[in-house]
Structure formats: structure tokens, C-alpha cells
């Protein structure tokens, strides 16, 4: 019996296998498509795309830490017009789904981006990156359940394509944000984006990254935190959850599927080994066969999440 690896993310978007390339770690697929077979990953989640082109932040933009890396790229991207008019047509050459990651400072920017992309072929859905500072309110849209719901509902109203909302882990109650965006019409949830971190340049007596010194932490170090976030989200919603954070191989992917994810994305590990996602997708099929399972969802742990005094 061949296991069925496909996952329905919503609004007819079924990906062939549950392994995606995470936003910002695979560009728009053009470089990676020369290194790996794009047809063997489930989906490409593109670099965050904004209404207008962005040049990005001043360097240094990346800094390694023990088992992780910090980034402060500053959403460098060519702007949504280039993606819709030029890139989208090129996406059609790949079998994998292409979900455009959309970012903005205001709800209107998200809506405009999605409107512009909605005409383009080759785009299968949207992943709303709501972890960027809201220029109007000073706080990320993703840090407040109501704001998160507002942007989700606004985008939902203008597209019939699959809308995935990508959550920030830097919140008090990620389950509340997840619930809010589910109610507002999200088809699926990606969890999680990077954690706010800092690295110090001891000799210079300042952070390595410029200005605030803050960056987004990704890579193996965040895995235990991301798993906890995925379990919390899983307990709060009924829509598909895409687990992200520190996945470097099949074992990590299994951990997320057990914790409650329906699919996963590989981020930083792709930098280190571009074939990571492909290896995981291939490995999952083999693993399920080995266990006599027919789909990934059978791996899931059924939690009875409840408050638990720690320490």
C-alpha cells in the first residue's frame, strides 16, 4: 500500500506531499530550482512580497549563533508587480504548489498585494506574514488577535484562493491568535516565524546586527519552542497547521507531525543542505511504509492541553 502524502490546505489547494520550502529561505524558487528538483517538494512559500519594492536592511543581515542564526534582511523583495507580472508565469513550470508570502505595514497593503496577485497564473495561494511591524499601531499585526483577524478577513474577502496565515511566536498566547484568524476565514496556519533574538559582538561591545541589534532566530535551536507553539495552535483550531522551526531532517519533521502539524516547512536547513526538503519528502513515504501507516495524520499525538505548573 503506497501511503498518501498529499495534504489539502483549503480552497482546493492540495499539495502532493507535506514538505514545503519556508518563506525567505528559498527566494522565489529560481536559484533552488537549479539545485533541486522542485517537483519533489510539496510547496514553495516565496520570499515575503510587499506592495512596493524594498531594498532591505543595512548589513550585516545574518549572524550565526550556537545551533541557529539571526536574520534581519528587511524584507528585500522586488515588489508585488514584478512577482505578478514576471515571476508568476515562471512558477507554472514547476509541479509544486507556489504560495506567495505577502507582507505589509497596513491591512490595505496586504489586500492590494493579494488583489494584484490574484489575476496571475502559477500562484496557488497566499501566506500572510503578519509578523512585521504595523506602521500604524507600532505593534506587529500578528501580535494582537484582533489585528490578525482583521487582516485575515480583509484578504479573505478579496480572494478565493487558499489563504494561509503565518503566526509570530513572540506572543503571550499563540492559540488565541490562531483561533482569531481561523474565525476570520484563514484556510490554514503556518507556525512559526522567527523568534526575536540578539547576538553580541563582545569585542565591539555592541550587538552584531545593526540599529536595534535584534534579529529573527531560526534553525535547530528553535525546534523545542516551535513544537510547543504547534501543539498549542493544534489544540485551538480545526484547520490545517503547517509546522516550521528548525527542521533539518526526517526526524524533526516527524516530531512536528506528532505534535500536531499537518505539513511542515524547511527553512534555514535549506541554506545548509538545499536537498533537505526533498530528502524529507522522500523519507516520509518510506517511513510510513515501514510503520504500516497510510497517511501522516496517523502519527499525531492527541493532546489534552491544559494549564500545567512548570519550574
Amino acid at each position: 500500500m503506497t501511503p498518501d502524502l498529499s495534504v489539502e490546505l483549503g480552497r482546493g489547494l492540495r499539495i502532493a506531499n507535506p514538505v514545503g520550502l519556508a518563506s525567505g529561505t528559498a527566494g522565489f524558487g529560481f536559484e533552488l530550482s537549479e539545485l533541486i528538483d522542485m517537483d519533489r517538494v510539496g510547496a514553495l512559500f516565496t520570499k515575503g512580497t510587499t506592495r512596493l519594492p524594498r531594498a532591505g536592511n543595512a548589513p550585516p543581515r545574518v549572524a550565526e549563533t550556537a545551533g541557529g542564526m539571526l536574520n534581519s534582511i528587511g524584507l528585500q523583495n522586488p515588489g508585488v508587480d514584478v512577482v505578478a507580472q514576471d515571476y508568476a508565469a515562471r512558477f507554472t513550470g514547476w509541479q509544486c504548489a507556489v504560495v506567495v508570502n505577502v507582507a505589509g505595514g497596513t491591512v490595505d497593503e496586504y489586500v492590494e498585494c493579494v488583489r494584484i496577485l490574484d489575476g496571475a497564473p502559477g500562484v496557488d495561494g497566499y501566506e500572510l506574514n503578519i509578523s512585521c511591524p504595523n506602521i500604524a499601531h507600532g505593534l506587529d499585526l500578528g501580535r494582537d488577535p484582533r489585528e490578525a483577524a482583521r487582516v485575515t478577513a480583509a484578504v479573505r474577502a478579496v480572494t478565493e484562493r487558499c489563504v494561509v496565515v503565518k503566526l509570530s511566536p513572540n506572543v503571550t498566547d499563540i492559540a488565541a491568535v490562531a483561533s482569531a484568524v481561523e474565525s476570520a476565514g484563514a484556510d490554514a496556519i503556518s507556525a512559526v516565524n522567527t523568534f526575536v533574538g540578539m547576538k553580541i559582538h563582545r569585542h565591539a561591545r555592541r550587538p552584531v546586527l545593526p540599529r536595534t541589534g535584534l534579529g529573527g532566530l531560526s534553525g535547530p535551536v528553535i525546534k523545542p519552542l516551535a513544537l510547543a507553539a504547534v501543539a498549542a495552535v493544534r489544540g485551538a483550531v480545526h484547520i490545517p497547521v503547517i509546522g516550521i522551526g528548525g527542521i533539518t531532517g526526517i526526524d524533526d519533521a516527524l516530531d512536528f507531525l506528532i505534535a500536531g502539524a499537518d505539513a511542515v516547512q524547511v527553512g534555514t536547513a535549506t541554506f545548509v543542505d538545499p536537498s533537505t526538503a526533498v530528502r524529507i519528502a522522500d523519507g516520509l513515504a518510506e517511513y510510513l511504509v515501514g510503520c504500516g501507516l497510510s497517511r501522516c495524520s496517523e502519527l499525531r499525538w492527541h493532546a489534552e492541553l491544559a494549564g500545567d505548573p512548570a519550574c
Binding site: T25, P60, H203, P220
Partner: protein, 281 residues
């Protein structure tokens, strides 16, 4: 703007030789047939020892030499990654993604070539010197280091080609002429039709200033720059370097695609030197 990635492969090979020089500098040769066959002077590979994710990221290293199936890298233990690489022994596995980046221009303008090497910036020159010599160019290498033990052996620039001139300088005067490598440039710049430089970014900035002060400038002047890298192949956008943009507005170029080799005039040197230090040295 930047070469294709069509030739790039992720190759795993065995270390075949480890040559140890003074001051911890090491030349590691690895059986990497694809890289050896395809790497152009100034290109680099993203290296890790084996398949481990620790340290997390790969490290970029210039392809220093190729010989048959073998590619060589020159490095010294400056941090966690290079310490692991410097400890490699013949038979150990090494993984290399490459060839990556835009290398040096080995064109007609390189008739009389001046190679300026600072410290570990020596790494791309053996391959470049060979390529220049194969086209019949006249080659002078100015090689500088903090002290004699950190000088890359002159013979390694020449690789048996006695026509290649190597001029050595050390900051502490323990070998060759005392002084900074840039000091040896002005007197040779008139004769040169091409200048190639590699070394720490501050050295390259100093070279840019030196050239600014020279009467005649060679028609070709290229530098190989460094930036901390996430991926090495253009997706993370982490390796931005400031370049002269349209209308004086500084713009960013990716060290791993448009670079590491850039025209010296294309780099926004003032911006570059204003950046906070990229890594804990």
C-alpha cells in the same frame, strides 16, 4: 548581473592531503571532481565537514587550486568552523557546494597583472595566477601578512612557474619588506593593466583609497570581498554589500552572486567601512 547556478553541485569527497604552513595556515585538498573541473578563479564553495549541522551554517572558501579530481582550500583556524576544517585529516569526509559566485575577469586587459594578497586573501590567487599565465599574462603577486609565519609560501603562488614574481611584505618586518601590502602598490600601478586584490575588507578599502590617489589607473581593477553568508547561492539575501547605486543612492549587491569579486569602482567603500563589524574575530 551574476552567473547561473547551473554548474553548482553539492559534492561529497574525501580529504586527500592536508599541508600545514606556519601560523596555523592549512591547505586542504579534497577529491571533488566536479568542483575541480568547473571552478573559475575567484569562485568559492560552501564547505562543511561531513553532514553535520554543527556549526549550523556552511563556510565560504575560495577555490585555491585544482589538480585533476582534486580541489584545494586555504584556511586558518579563526573560529569554530575553521577550527574543525583545519583539524581535518586525509580520509575525512568534506562536503562542498559549488562553484559559487562571480570570479575574476581574466580578459585582455589583464596583460600585466598585479595580484594584491593580504593574509588569507591569498586563497584565490594560485588559481588566478595559473589562468593568467595560461593566457600568457605577466604576473606579479604582492603578498602581505602581519608576520612571516602568516605569509602564504611564495612557491604556492608560483606552483613551479618561475616567471611569476612574488613580492612579500610583513607588518612586523619579520620577512620581506616591512609595511602594509597597500604600500607596495603605487610604485607598480603604472605598469599594471589589471589589479586583482583579496584580503580583509578594510585592506581592500585602503587599496581603493590608494588607487584613488594614483595618477593612472589600470583599466581592470577587481577585489574579492567578504560578507557573512547564510546560503552562498542567492536565496537568503543575507550577504548584502553596499555598492554605488543610481544617482548616488547606495544600493545592495549580494556578495555570493554579484560577488565575491566586484569592480573596485562599484563598491561603496565609505558605506562599507561604516558598517558594524560583521563577526566576532
Amino acid at each position: 548581473m551574476s552567473g547561473s547556478l547551473r554548474d553548482v553541485r553539492d559534492e561529497r569527497g574525501e580529504v586527500t592531503a592536508v599541508d600545514r604552513f606556519g601560523g596555523g595556515m592549512v591547505e586542504v585538498s579534497v577529491r571533488l571532481p566536479h568542483l575541480a573541473a568547473t571552478a573559475l578563479p575567484g569562485q568559492f564553495a560552501q564547505i562543511r565537514s561531513g553532514d553535520s549541522f554543527s556549526p549550523l551554517l556552511r563556510r565560504p572558501f575560495s577555490v585555491a587550486w585544482t589538480d585533476g579530481d582534486s580541489a584545494s582550500f586555504v584556511l586558518a583556524p579563526v573560529g569554530v568552523g575553521t577550527r574543525l576544517l583545519a583539524a581535518l585529516r586525509p580520509g575525512d569526509p568534506l562536503t562542498a557546494l559549488g562553484p559559487l559566485g562571480t570570479g575574476f575577469t581574466v580578459g585582455v586587459r589583464a596583460q600585466r597583472s598585479l595580484c594584491v594578497s593580504g593574509g588569507l586573501g591569498c586563497a584565490p590567487f594560485p588559481l588566478l595566477v595559473r589562468a593568467l599565465r595560461r593566457q600568457g599574462r605577466d604576473v606579479t603577486v604582492v603578498s602581505g601578512a602581519a608576520r612571516s609565519t602568516l605569509l602564504y609560501p611564495a612557491e604556492r603562488f608560483r606552483r613551479g612557474d618561475r616567471e611569476v614574481r612574488v613580492i612579500e611584505l610583513t607588518v612586523d618586518g619579520s620577512a620581506g619588506t616591512p609595511g602594509l601590502v597597500t604600500a607596495a602598490v603605487p610604485e607598480r600601478i603604472d605598469a599594471a593593466t589589471a589589479v586583482y586584490a583579496c584580503g580583509p575588507n578594510p585592506m581592500l578599502a585602503a587599496l581603493a583609497r590608494t588607487l584613488d590617489g594614483c595618477a593612472t589607473l589600470p583599466p581592470l581593477a577587481e577585489v574579492s570581498l567578504e560578507a557573512p553568508m547564510g546560503c552562498g547561492y542567492g536565496t537568503c539575501l543575507g550577504c548584502a554589500l553596499p555598492v554605488e547605486g543610481a544617482g548616488g543612492v547606495p544600493a545592495w549587491a549580494l556578495c555570493c552572486r554579484q560577488g565575491p569579486v566586484m569592480q573596485i569602482g562599484a563598491v561603496a567603500w565609505d558605506e562599507l567601512m561604516k558598517l558594524p563589524p560583521a563577526h566576532v574575530a
